[in-house]
Amino acid sequence: MNHFLVRWTFVHGALRTLHVAMLIGLIAGPSLVNAQESNHDYLIFLDASAYHHSGTLVGDDLKRNEGEAKGTFLYSWQNDRYRFFAEAHVADEGEAELARLQWGWRLAPQTTAWVGRFHNPQGYWNTQYHHGAYLQTSISRPGIEQFDDMGGVIPSHFIGVQLDSTQPAGNEGSLRYEFGLGVSGELDEKGLESPLLVGPQGSAKTTASLRLAYMPSEAELDTFGVFLGQNRIPAKELDFREVRQTVAGIFANMYIKDLRLTGAVFFMRDELEDGTAGAGGFANAYLQAEYQLNPVWTPYVRAEGSHGDADDPYLMQFHDFVRARRLLGLRRDFGRKQALKVEYARSRIETDRYNDLAVQWSMVFP
């Protein structure tokens, strides 16, 4: 026991030191490099949403009407040798997060080794849109790709290192891989929490991810891929000590003229250590179809579903996890990079069902 405590104290201390070193390096990085030909870019995302819920849960766990406003600032800088990336997120409830902070070394023009805090590449939606509400056609995210601090079951971020590269594949295509290694967050009675770069640190254990994405043509937006990851998630004040989670799956994003199809299939295996609850697994899938009537109007539908979810003891910690959902919505693009969306959804969490009617305004600048 003592040996374990000593080892854990050492690991925890090393992680904290790594965090501080990373912060100093990441923040000071761009100003320390020699002035070379470089370029930078930034995006500011804003969105405001209103929800009306109905169903059996209203009044107990769910307010009838809710609203939220969010903002995200994203900054990217690069030259021939280095890359820097930062993303800060704020919400009207006082939530503020340094979602990403990455410092990268170009090993080759299309290959970068990064250190910092990253989006977890286990899936599709999480890295494709993350907090950019304007970028995703719909208002809501699929339940399986929900943010960890909002009831999601997969860690959304990790701190560590990542290697990514894009290589030619076939005549016109390319293959992109992302390999991440680091520490993910912890689980308590409120749910998952990603590791923080600043602020109080919780327990953290290793996470590893690999995602491969094939793009048949660089001049197209079609993407097909697979992902595989393992997360060791320490549990705090629960009747088990740790969750060993294995995530595997496939995803696709394809265009057939004005029809866009986006989908993913997840296979999850969760083992609870030091508890009596044991292990279990489930499968989850979603498919979203969008049809662009013209540059302004885009109706869309999405179906999500789970199989075997009743047998996974890990899911008992996530009462708000959306196991199945049917939704339809309409998006209107207007002005300079603004969108108005309205969406109706029917969702199932555990044994209860509820309905959502949501309206969202979103924009991006510049």
Binding site: N39, D41, L43, W77, F85, Q102, Q128, L135, D164, A219
Partner: protein, 155 residues
């Protein structure tokens, strides 16, 4: 004394009017959307596929030169035609695709946008290896080098 138009006079007037409208009009100029380069850029040939890749944030290098595409937002019609006929996407889908690549840190490059013709021409003139799209008559009037024709209005 009142004199009315005779039948011959009416026929003559009708022929005159008909002839007037039947006269060949000056040929309407066919609109052409072209890819142009500033005088600071080398003369190269690019395929339409390469132009599309360039505007999707893919690095295109030819003869040792990496090209920098500029987005012409000064002319809304030229932008829409370019999106439809060259990029094969609507403007909002194109812009979201570029931003999504930036969000994923898969690419750090988005073509700079210019909302005034003056700034666009200035960027073309002062930045090496820059390219943009515009109507042929405007390009000729500005003395720009036309790299290729991207689209021609049906006659």
């Amino acid at each position: 004394m009142k004199r009315g138009l005779s039948l011959a006079g009416v026929v003559l007037l009708a022929i005159l009017v008909a002839n007037t409208f039947a006269l060949p009009l000056p040929a309407a100029e066919v609109r052409r959307l072209v890819l142009v380069a500033g005088n600071a850029s080398p003369a190269v040939s690019l395929s339409q596929e390469e132009v599309r890749k360039l505007y999707l944030g893919v690095l295109v290098t030819k003869e040792g030169k990496t090209f920098l595409p500029l987005c012409n937002h000064a002319d809304k019609l030229a932008y829409e035609i370019f999106m439809q006929k060259v990029v094969f996407m609507s403007g909002p889908v194109y812009e979201r695709a570029l931003m999504s690549r930036l969000v994923r840190a898969a690419s750090s490059f988005r073509p700079p946008e210019y909302t005034t013709e003056k700034e666009l021409l200035q960027a073309l003139a002062t930045t090496p290896n820059t390219l943009t799209y515009m109507w042929a008559d405007k390009a000729e009037a500005a003395g720009l080098r036309i790299v290729m024709e991207l689209w021609r209005e049906k006659e």
